[in-house]
């Protein structure tokens, strides 16, 4: 006769919290959480005590006070009477401007350099290597101040242009003037938020342009779809490029003509140039330095990405009878982009963060306004620095959010 008995039940002992793997992880986590909370409490308590002894409280009331300083390079209208909030907003837009401009230029230059570095032409490859090594191994801050010195010290003074026909682009030591877009039959602006600190205008001309552009792109996609369908059915692909070009270009040309589009050049009036789009030296230096610096990193990424695709892929695609353009677009690029894009985006992120070095050349980005003059005028270091961090954190996290979505979409399906 056999009897089944349960194994003796172990009673819980305190030492099992440490030595029993079932409970140990919980113990460690509770200890870690307690340690973390204690540290946080300690920091906050210190902060409160210190602020009290300084007679300060944490308040964001200074945002509604007039800023009292000027911002010369800006996208929104702004006077020194405006509030600190508006100054911060103008600064934020300046940060985004230089970041977007920089990312575009860095990508173009970087891809070009990366591809040329793989060139079979020895001297071209060597020049590109030298470029990459020089830019990667010297601090970006030095590049920024160097380019700033270059554009403001070695360019001519506006008065040297007296009596000279200046043309479309004028480079002076007070900045570079580009033609501006003017419309003689402008549709006007759309204003938001009235007269508050967040007010902004959107040009209806721009909206009209974008609507027509996207309409054209949409129709062009339709044409491509129908061409695909024809190819599926008959095996012959009809030539569509001229149709697709026409549906995009013709409506835009018509719209620009109707709006009376023309370019406005900068002209020398008195001691300075008036009109045109004025890029100040600070913006120019920051933009150029950041994009050339980041381009060196992007070039390496592009080179690595292209080298990562084994030659067998190209040969196999050739064996299938694809032409070289199609090999690139259907076989090599989709695989190379998977390698290239994640580090590329993290370089965009670096560029955006590095744009905070604007403060070194006096470009009024968010660090120059909120973390610079506003902080110094109001004496609200804690609030300003925390807000500044929050702004950059939001930008960074949204960019890396986009990257995560992309990564999960192109991820290879593994077992």
């Amino acid at each position: 006769m056999t009897t089944l008995t349960d194994p003796p039940k172990e009673s819980f002992r305190l030492s099992m919290l440490i030595y029993d793997t079932r409970y140990r992880s919980a113990t460690i986590q509770v200890v870690a959480l307690m340690g973390f909370m204690l540290a946080a409490a300690w920091l906050i308590d210190n902060t409160i005590t210190n602020l009290e002894s300084l007679g300060k409280t944490i308040t964001f009331g200074f945002f509604t006070e007039p800023a009292g300083y000027d911002i010369n390079q800006r996208l929104l209208d702004y006077q020194s009477r405006d509030t600190h909030l508006r100054a911060a907003l103008v600064g934020l837009l300046n940060t985004l401007t230089v970041a977007v401009l920089g990312c575009i230029t860095a990508t173009v230059v970087g891809v070009l350099v990366g591809v040329l570095r793989l060139s079979k032409n020895w001297i071209v490859a060597k020049i590109m290597t030298v470029y990459v090594e020089i830019f990667r191994n010297v601090p970006v801050l030095l590049w920024i101040v160097l380019v700033f010195a270059l554009v403001s010290e070695s360019t001519p003074h506006p008065k040297t242009f007296k009596g000279v026909d200046t043309g479309a682009v004028v480079v002076t030591n007070r900045g570079t003037y580009l033609p501006e877009f003017l419309f003689s039959n402008s549709l006007g602006d759309l204003s938001f938020f009235g007269a508050s600190s967040l007010r902004f205008n959107v040009s209806l001309d721009l909206i009209a342009f974008l609507v027509v552009l996207f309409g054209g792109l949409f129709v062009s996609r339709k044409i491509k779809r129908s061409a695909d369908a024809v190819q599926e059915a008959t095996g012959i692909r009809p030539a569509t490029w001229w149709k697709r070009l026409a549906v995009i270009a013709l409506p835009i040309a018509a719209l620009l003509y109707a709006l009376g589009f023309h370019l406005g050049y900068a002209e020398l009036k008195g001691f300075n140039f008036k009109g045109g789009t004025h890029l100040r030296n600070s913006l120019l230096a920051l933009w150029l330095a950041l994009s050339l610096y980041t381009a060196a990193f992007i070039a390496e990424i592009v080179r690595g990405g292209i080298l990562a695709i084994s030659h067998g892929q190209t040969e196999a695609a050739g064996a299938l009878g694809l032409r070289s353009g199609r090999i690139m677009s259907l076989v090599v690029l989709p695989q190379a982009l998977r390698v290239i894009i994640p580090p590329m985006i993290s370089n965009y992120l670096n560029l955006t963060k590095n744009s905070s070095l604007a403060i070194a050349v006096g470009y009024m980005d968010i660090t120059g306004t909120l973390g610079g003059i506003t902080m110094n005028q109001t004496g609200r270091e804690l609030e300003c620095v925390l807000l500044l961090m929050a702004v950059y954190l939001i930008i960074s996290l949204s960019i890396s959010g986009v990257m995560n979505v992309y990564n999960s979409r192109v991820k290879l399906v593994e077992r």
Partner: protein, 435 residues
């Protein structure tokens, strides 16, 4: 039937390849003029190089090394070349290079900085070139963290010795207690003993020893630190301290413990999401607010703390990449050997993960080293801050390119050699995985 077939019995002399495919001509045909497009590219590139060199070479070499002010430089140039443009005035470098390298460090104490640099290299040698350097140097590596601050900041020798003694005491307690009561309790006891030593006893011991036996060297204040030396100092401290922190953070991020993981992820993503300059603002304006009232430690130390935290987050990501690249079989193999978590990490996982992440670690180091220039924005006199200060001097008002060139060359030499070292290391370590 006669056999007419002919079989050659001796080898023919090898024929020379055609003259157009060998030697310099062959090389040029292959690499420079292989097609029309390539030929055009080559010619454009050559013109570009010639243009740049024609401006750069006279600027570098038809220059003045002895002038003591920019005006004097210009006089010399007008006298010799007839123009002031296109000639470098290296007099500024000649005049101020010591300042650019050492900042405002007292000049009779430069030997201490130099000695520290030599010690740094000697302490790094057993780590960097493990098979060539003698093993005994590792003792120096262990003593280095205490020797370096003492040499640079000076003061009593007892401070660093007593701090080092804390580690010795902690280790000793750990060893003794391990035999009596298990590892975990021993670890806690060791840490507690060291903390008690540092917090409670060390102050008394230091002042006691000082009054009995005052041995020390001249103290140097932090605000005299500057120049390239500051960049090197900040870079070494930030990387040296951040490596262990980064390993812990990376392990925390990989761990199954949710709360630990959340804390690590939060820290890493926060630091990586904000620019270094905001962290430096924290160092210069806020760190004293976060500390207990009355604490006031100097700006260099505060900057070091923030730069260490900054590089720790990046280091953690690099090491996490190394951990993720390890095949799962390594973890399972370690488990099947019956190793516990820390043994597995120490013996199996970390040696391989660190090896994989070496290029990333070096490039993080290069990045941090370049980023040390940002301290000029919060008012420290590193090389870039000093170049502005030199320009404020009436003698050198208006001089840009010579200073920038000097600084760029300094950074280029250091960063470029580090990236070459990382390549050397990759080649050396890539023994097992090459296919």
């Amino acid at each position: 039937m006669s056999d007419t077939s002919f079989v050659r019995t001796e080898m023919l002399e090898q024929k020379e390849p055609p003259a157009s495919t060998i030697g310099i001509i062959g090389w040029m045909r292959e690499n420079l003029f292989s097609s029309v497009v390539n030929s055009i590219l080559t010619i454009i590139s050559l013109l570009l190089v010639a243009y740049i060199l024609s401006g750069l070479l006279p600027w570098i070499f038809q220059s003045s090394w002895n002038a003591t002010s920019l005006t004097e430089c210009r006089e010399i140039f007008t006298a010799t070349y007839g123009t002031t443009h296109g000639h470098a005035c290296w007099g500024v470098v000649n005049d101020r290079w010591l300042q650019l390298l050492y900042g405002f460090y007292p000049d009779h104490l430069y030997w201490r900085v130099n000695l520290t640099l030599v010690l740094t290299l000697a302490a790094l040698a057993p780590v960097l070139f493990s098979e060539k350097a003698p093993r005994q140097l590792l003792y120096l590596t262990m003593a280095y963290p205490f020797l370096m601050p003492w040499l640079l900041w000076g003061g009593s020798i007892w401070g660093p010795i007593v701090v080092a003694l804390g580690f010795v005491i902690g280790y000793f307690v750990y060893r003794v207690v391990t035999e009596a009561a298990g590892e975990l309790i021993a670890l806690i006891a060791g840490v507690a003993a060291a903390l008690i030593w540092w917090m409670v006893l060390s102050g008394v011991v230091v002042s006691g020893l000082d009054s009995v036996l005052p041995i020390g060297i001249e103290a140097v204040e932090s605000r005299k630190f500057g120049g390239f030396m500051l960049a090197v100092l900040l870079g070494i401290v930030a990387i040296g301290v951040s490596l262990p922190i980064g390993i812990v953070l990376a392990l925390g991020r990989q761990s199954d413990l949710l709360i630990v993981k959340a804390i690590c992820v939060g820290f890493i993503e926060f630091i990586r999401g904000v620019p270094l300059i905001t962290l430096l603002f924290v160092a210069s304006l806020l760190l004293n607010v976060f500390m207990p009232p009355g604490t006031n430690f100097d700006i260099i130390l505060r900057v070091m703390i923030m730069m260490t935290l900054f590089s720790a987050a990046y280091m953690a990501e690099v090491i996490r990449g190394g951990l993720a690249a390890l095949p799962k079989g390594q973890y399972e193999g370690a488990d099947s050997l019956g190793l516990n978590y820390w043994q597995a990490q120490r013996l199996i996982i970390m040696p391989q993960a660190l090896k994989i992440s070496i290029p990333g670690i070096v490039s993080t180091f290069i990045g941090i080293f370049k980023d040390t220039t940002l301290v000029s924005i919060i008012g420290l006199f590193d090389v870039i801050g000093l170049s502005t200060a030199i320009r404020a001097d009436t003698a050198w008002n208006g001089i840009y390119w010579e200073l920038f060139a000097f600084i760029a060359v300094l950074f280029f030499i250091v960063c470029f050699s580090m990236s070459r070292y990382s390549m050397y290391l990759e080649r050396k370590l890539q023994t097992g995985h090459k296919r």
